[in-house]
Symmetry: C2
Subunit: 219 residues, 2 copies
């Protein structure tokens, strides 16, 4: 499958590399083609890996991951020809955090009432935005068994049930997520809640002393 990855940071690189290892063709996108980190990654990752602009990666992917710093995510989406995402699933991994006011981080002011996930869906109304993976460390995203042998919860939300189901199957197949891990929070509005969880996640990181943890919904 062809996958577009928007972002060259640790999250984008972890997901891109894990997908190459599963035999997918992956294009890493950045502000402009030729980005130093994207070029270095593609060289190291081998024949299945390419790089280009955000627009190149979005057009390339049958499935697209949005892995940017929340502060810049909408700008990246705005730089894409929206038709390149028509009918495609866009997995939104972003968090709109503001660390400038000290700890704990805040949610960026412009996303306090309407989440970043919702704003992304509004920006590309013909794509199927599924918000997930944003509540765990990047190394756990692609290797959930690093924590509690994979027995923990992953929140999913989005407006399209079929898209959410496809994402669950993809994450199970590509990264080994257990079917019982997925917790469907409802439509994309619920991104307000999963994004608002992340400041607590940061404090839990401090409490645990490692990012290799998660939460498990128990009854």
């Amino acid at each position: 499958m062809r996958i577009g990855i928007l972002g060259t940071g640790v999250v984008g690189e972890a997901i891109a590399t894990a997908l190459i290892e599963k035999g997918h063709e992956v294009r890493m996108g950045s502000r402009a083609a030729g980005n130093e980190k994207a070029v270095a990654w593609a060289k190291k990752a081998g024949k299945l890996a390419t790089e280009g602009s955000f627009n190149d990666a979005a057009i390339y992917g049958d499935l697209v991951f949005l892995c940017l710093n929340g502060e810049f995510a909408l700008d990246a989406i705005d730089s894409i020809d929206p038709s390149g995402l028509n009918g495609k699933i866009l997995i939104d991994v972003t968090n709109p955090l503001d660390f400038t006011q000290g700890m704990p981080p805040r949610i960026l002011e412009e996303y306090r009432h309407v989440s970043l996930g919702e704003r992304i869906q509004q920006a590309v109304p013909n794509a199927y935005v599924v918000k997930t993976l944003n509540t765990i460390n990047y190394s756990v995203m692609v290797n959930p068994k690093k924590v509690n042998n994979g027995k923990h919860s992953l929140f999913v939300c989005g407006n399209h049930m079929d898209a959410k189901n496809k994402v669950k199957h993809f994450l199970a197949d590509a990264f080994g997520w257990d079917a019982e891990s997925f917790v469907d929070l409802g439509d994309i509005k619920a991104a307000r809640c999963s994004e608002a969880f992340v400041p607590l996640w940061v404090m839990l990181w401090q409490a645990v002393g490692s990012p290799l943890f998660s939460v498990k919904l128990v009854q």
Copy 2:
């Protein structure tokens, strides 16, 4: 031990009743002595139970629980002579939620940057405010074994380590909380994070179809 309970709602009543059953003397406080619900509760709960104003309950308790709707919590604290809480532990169970804008609930605008827990600590600087129990259903607060045989996490924060330790011991002894359940998030500023978790909790309630759930920190 003498316990003051500020609030006559389901949370206050559940905690008050459970503490009576453990042999504590409990005074339930409301806006004015003689509150219909508080009088009915005290009559039913027996000899160890009394009722009065918020101030009466605060003065009475060696330990005080704040169990009000977040919207009214600071008003209740303001109605108390602060010296009545000097040197006492005040367990803050409140959440500043705004359900008027539909689901998911928001955090009340005035507590978006500085949490309700912090504002309560500021209002009674000589009390030891410990924020906890606010991230679970009231019936689980007093009977944690209702969920996953008690194996789940309870977030605790506050400025005073000794007060947090006393609260952990009290909750373990009174309600059966497992010592491994407690997750210390740090000082009272972390109440921003545990309060911000509660809109997600509400969406999880919808997803689960029952309030009898919790989250467990796993590594």
